[in-house]
Amino acid sequence: MLQVSGLSKQFKMHIRDGLVIDGFNDVSFTAYKGKLLAVTGKSGIGKSTLLKCIYRTYKPTGGSVIYLSRDGKKVDLAKEEDQTIIWLRKSELGYVSQFLHVIPRVSALDILAGRLLTGNASPKGAREEAEYLLDRVRISKSLWNMYPSTFSGGEKQRLNILLAIAAKPNLLLLDEPTASLDAVSKDIIIELILDTKKKGVTLIGVFHDRDAIKALADTRYDMRKNRLVAVS
């Protein structure tokens, strides 16, 4: 489903006289359909850098990320044309960061309904589904028509994951989706991720939280000294 081999990332900082910073080196792993691969490790070790390299927010320095797309084509995300990456991001790649980035001045319900309005969905159907989903993650009805910038951290993160799932991804990258959340929010998010797994989505997640790893992870890799080591 997703095969990463020999992936590495270095940053050359011209504004610091060409200083080279190591992101990570020679990372290889395979992620499978309907499974969650968890990446753990200390802060600053390169876990988020790895996710961003797969999503191509960072351009990898070396190695390959072979992704099997829905139409059965093998694409190297590390080297593919920008145009193809944009297309894949719109149709099958999802990325959930620790922070919610949405268009300002649009209500939560409209944003979510807009995201559900792909393919042959009707505007009314999309709106109903958005309402159902918001209700399911227990976001109070009074907030549906508010801007997400007014939400609390936990509510924002719940919406963040809903938005990623609503786009019906084939591969979903999660960057600490349960960080700094209360127990209730955390449980809701774990439930959502489990649901996504059942739908056959391939998941790669960066986690610090032990409960989340226990509940979600099928395989676990630990990042040590910028390399990835499998944990049984």
Partner: protein, 278 residues
């Protein structure tokens, strides 16, 4: 997903001011766009890029890097010194639009491309009413029926949230943000497949800026127009564009996905630019 045909393909486009010499014409290093021997200014130096269907392409760079020159040259406001551009909607992209007759260029300006200038004075006739401004474009495109023109002008102006009661007013009485919206409706009059936007929100206050950007985004989603957005405001580029070009001294120094340009800039200038962001 393979082989998406670009709506607009630009190859080796150059705009120079001056005679040029052997040294600079070869494309040797021209510091800050100026040849050290003959002092020719290369406002654009062999610029090549593609604009794809339905995409918003951002262009960033410091003042004087050639961003506006690029748009003006594409809209034929300025002559190019050399280079080629192919528009898929014009003769199926087989003819270099820089080499066609001025009549044909006029046709492209009226049917195939829209331009929104930084300064509304450039794009609007300030002494004509708003509806007349839109009608001017429609007349240029060959529509002569007054009823149809009024209807279309009303539709377009209300689309950019200019109240119907005010469409007979002259844009000179409008605020900067409103003038910009009238300009957008004028640029969209003939449903062009390509829209060029030159620093459209510069000089507008934050809430008006937000409204104009919302509007542009909405239009893009509804009509699927391909756009080139020039701005020196990185937040505008982050919100609007899928891909971004970075310009310096008349050249494109970096090109990539917008989040990649902003989070993992490779070129020295892009790094300086991104790290200067407040």
């Amino acid at each position: 997903m393979d082989n998406i045909m670009p709506v607009l393909a630009v190859r080796n486009m150059s705009v120079r001011f001056g005679e040029s010499c052997e040294y600079c014409i070869k494309g040797c290093a021209v510091e800050k766009g100026r040849c050290p021997y003959c002092h020719t200014i290369w406002a654009l130096n062999k610029v090549s890029f593609n604009l794809y269907p339905g995409e918003i392409l951002g262009i960033v760079g410091e003042s004087g890097s050639g961003k506006s020159t690029l748009l003006k040259a594409l809209y034929f406001d300025m002559e190019v010194s050399c280079g080629e551009a192919y528009l898929s909607e014009y003769r199926e992209g087989r003819e270099n639009i820089f080499e066609i007759s001025s009549q044909q260029k006029r046709y492209i300006r009226n049917h195939k491309m829209g331009m929104v200038y930084q300064n509304p004075v450039m794009g609007l006739r300030m002494n004509f009413s708003n509806s007349a401004n839109v009608a001017e474009k429609l007349i240029a495109a060959g529509i002569r029926n007054a009823g149809n023109m009024t209807q279309r002008a009303e539709y377009l102006l209300s689309h950019v949230e200019v109240p119907v009661s005010r469409i007979k007013e002259e844009p000179k009485n409008f605020s900067g943000g409103m003038q910009q919206r009238v300009q957008i409706s004028k640029a969209l009059a003939n449903n062009p497949p390509v829209l060029l936007l030159d620093e459209v929100t510069t000089g507008l206050d934050l809430s008006v800026q937000a409204r104009v950007l919302d509007l542009i985004k909405k239009i893009q989603l509804e009509l699927g127009i391909s756009m080139i957005v020039v701005s020196h405001d990185l937040s505008v580029i982050r919100m609007m564009s899928d891909r971004t070009l970075v310009m310096l001294g008349g050249r494109i120094v970096e090109e990539g996905l917008t989040d990649q340009i902003l989070e993992d800039p490779i070129h020295e200038f892009t790094q300086t630019l991104v790290h200067s962001l407040l």
